[in-house]
Point group: C2
Chain length 452, copies 2
Amino acid sequence: MPVTETDIQDVIGQIRAALAADHRDQAARLLLELHVADQATLFELLDPEERRRLLPGLGATDAADLLERVEDETALAAAETMSVDRLADVLDEMEPDEAADVLGDLPAKRASEALAQMADATNVQPLLAYEDESAGGLMTTSFLALRGHDSVGDATEYLRRVPTDDEVPYYLYVVDDNRRLIGVLSLRQLLVAEAGARLATLMDPDVIHVRDVVDQEEAALVMGRYDLAALPVVDGDGKLVGAITHDDILDVVETEATEDVYRLANVADSQLEPDSAVFAQVRGRLPWLYINTCTALLAAFVISRFEDIIRQVTALAVFQAVVAGQGGNAASQNVAMIVRSLVTGKVERGETMRILTRQLAVGVIQGVCVGTVVGIGAWLWRGNPYLGLIIGVALLGNMMVAAVAGVLVPLGLRACGQDPAIASSVLVTTATDCLGFLIFLSLAASMVHHLL
Amino acid sequence: MPVTETDIQDVIGQIRAALAADHRDQAARLLLELHVADQATLFELLDPEERRRLLPGLGATDAADLLERVEDETALAAAETMSVDRLADVLDEMEPDEAADVLGDLPAKRASEALAQMADATNVQPLLAYEDESAGGLMTTSFLALRGHDSVGDATEYLRRVPTDDEVPYYLYVVDDNRRLIGVLSLRQLLVAEAGARLATLMDPDVIHVRDVVDQEEAALVMGRYDLAALPVVDGDGKLVGAITHDDILDVVETEATEDVYRLANVADSQLEPDSAVFAQVRGRLPWLYINTCTALLAAFVISRFEDIIRQVTALAVFQAVVAGQGGNAASQNVAMIVRSLVTGKVERGETMRILTRQLAVGVIQGVCVGTVVGIGAWLWRGNPYLGLIIGVALLGNMMVAAVAGVLVPLGLRACGQDPAIASSVLVTTATDCLGFLIFLSLAASMVHHLL
C-alpha cells in the first residue's frame, strides 16, 4: 500500500531525532525500512545538511538504489559530497543510465576520476556520448539478450545468472553474431515453452525499435503507440545498444507536459516549482516578462498614434482592451490545441492548409458571436450604434488575426526546428494586441464623425 | 520498425482502391498485414463510410483487436453499425476494460442486448459500475492470479492455459481463499524458480495497490512513483478485482496533460484537435470566450469610471494595457506552476502560506524590475517623471495582485474539489485586469495635476 505523506513525516521526525543524537546508523535503518520510492520522497524533503549526514550511513547498494530515484540535482549534490572511491562504488551499483546521468552532470575532472575508479565502467561509458534528451540518453544498457541458436533452457540459465534487479525484466531480445537485433520474446513465452526449443523458432522477428539518436519524444510516441513495456534501441549498424523502459517514458511524457504548460505560460525553466528559491524563479520567469514588456510597449505605441481620437472619444479607451484581449484569448486556444496535437503526434506535416481554413472558419464564427454580443452591449451602454458596429467588426477582424497567427506561428516554429510552445504565446499575443488595437482604432478614426 | 506516415498513406490508397472495386476481402487482408497499432492509425484516417465497408471483412478477433486501439468515439461508431450478434462476438474477443468502455458509451438498450448475447459477460459486467475516470474504470479484469499454496509448476501450467494476449503479462498475483490480494511475483521470478516451490514462499507480500474507487490520476501517481508495469486494484474488502497496465497510465498522463493545457487556454473540450469539426470546436471554445467577455466588460467598466482623466491625459490610454497585461502574464506563470505541481504531486496541502509568501517575494522583485524599466521608458518617451512613477508603482502593485490571485485561486479551486486548471485563468485575469486598471487609473487620478 502506498505510504501516506503523514507516514513519511513521522519517519522524517524520527530520522531527524536520530541524527540530532548523532545515531547515524539508526537514522539509516529507519530510512531503509521504507520502500525505496518512499526513501527517495523522504530524502528530497530533508535539507542538504541532513542529507549529507544521512548518506554515509548507507551501503553502496542502498545509496545507489536511493540516488537512482531522486531528482537529478539531488543526486548530483549527493555525489559531490562523496569521496571519489565511495562515488565509484555507488556508481558501480547504479543502473548504467542513472550512473551516466550523474557522471554527465559532474565536473569533467571529477567524472573522469570516478570513471577510472569504477570496477565496471563498460556499461556506462557508451551512454556518456548521447544527448540527454535522445533515446540513447534515456536507455539503459542492462537488458537481456541472447542468440537465436540458444535454447529456452539456456535462457533460463542466463536469467539465473544476471542480477534480478535488471531494469528490463519483460522481454528477452535476440541478436545475431554481430549483435544486430533480430527478434524478441516475452518472458511469458519463455515460461510456457519447451526447454529444448531454440529462441529463433519462438521469437517474433518483427521487433519495434528506435535509433539511439532520435529525440526522446519520438521514442515516447512509438512506445505509446505500440503499448510496449520496453523499447529496444539500436545504433546505426542495427546493433542492439540499449532499451528504454515504460517508467522512463512516463517521466518523459510528464516532463514534456510540464514543459509545454510552463512554456505556454512564459516560464522558461520547467524545473521550477511554486516553492523553488526566489532567485531561481525570478531567473526563469523575468526574461519572458521583459520580452512581453517589449511587445506590450509596441502595442502601446500603436495606441499612441490614435491619441487625438481617444481624446475626442474616450469610449475607445474603454473598449480597446476588450478587442485586444478577446483576440488573445482566441489565439491561445489555437496555440494550445496545435502544441498538444504536435506532441501527441496528431498533426502531420502537410496539413497546414486544412487546419488553417478550419481554424479561420472557427475564428469567423467566434468573431461573429462575440462581436455581436459585445457590439450590441456597447451600443446599449453608450447609446451609439456606430460604436457598437466598430467594436463588433474589430472583434471579428481580430479573431481572424488570432486564427491565422495562432496556426501559422506554432507550425512555423515547428518547421524551423523550434519548440512551438516556447515562443508562440508572445509572438501570437503581439499580433493580436498590435493588430487588434490597429483595426479597432483605425476603424474608429475612419468613422470618427459618427462617434462624436 | 515503426511504420511511417507515408507507408500508411500507401496502404490507405490500396485499401481505397480495393473498396472501390468492391474487393472487401482484399481490403481487409491489406489492413491485417499491418501491426495492429498501425491498423488503428489507418482506420482513424478512413472516412466513416469506408470504415463501415471495411469492418465486416474482419473476423471477430481481428475487429476486436482493432477496436481496442482506436479512439473511443471511433469504436462506438463502429459498434453502432454492427448487428447485435456480431457486436456480442466482437465484445467477447475484446479486453474486458475496452469492451466495458464501448458498452458504457452505447445506448442502454443496445448495451443490455449485446451483454445478454455475449458468451462470457462475467469479466465485463463488474466493470460497468465504475466511474470512467476511476481506477476501476481503467483496470482490466484479465490478470494472472493464483493461490499461495500453488507451486511454480502449477503456475506454468496455468500460464499455458490462459490466452497469451492477456493484458497483464508481467506479474502473477497471489490471493487467499477469499480472493484477497496477499502477494506478487514477477514472471522472471517464476522462470528462475524450482518447479516445486510454493508461490507463498517466493512472493513479495508487500504489494503496492490501489482501491477501485480512487481517481485515475492518483493511480497514475502511484504507478509513476513506484515504477510499476502493472498496478493491482482491490475493492473495499481487499479482494483483487483488476489491474491497471503501464500503457493505460501513459494514456491517462497524456490525456490529463492535454486537459491541463486546454483548460488553462480556455478550451473546455480536451478531445478537440486543430482539424476537428468546426461546430465541435465552436461548442468547446465559445462558452469560455463569452465568460471572458463578461470579465473584459467588467474591466471596461472600471476604465469607464476614469474617462474624464483619460480625456485630459490620453497617455493613460496608451499605458493602461501594459499594466493589466503584465499582471496577467505574471499571474499565468503562477497558475501554470501551481496547476502542474498539483498534478505531479509536488504540492501538498498545508503549504499554502509558504508558497504564498515565496510567490509574493517573486512578484515584488518582478514588479520592481519590470516597473523600473517601463517607468523609466515612459518618463523618457513622454517626458513626464510622474507618469513614469505612476506606471512603475502600478506595475509593482499589479504584480503583487498577480502573485496573490495566482496562488490563492488555483489552490482555492482545488480545496473546493474543482480542477484548478478549469477556471483559474479567467478568475485570475479578472483580478489582474480590473485591479490593474483600478490601481493605475486611481493613482493617476490622485496625481492628475502632475500629469497635465
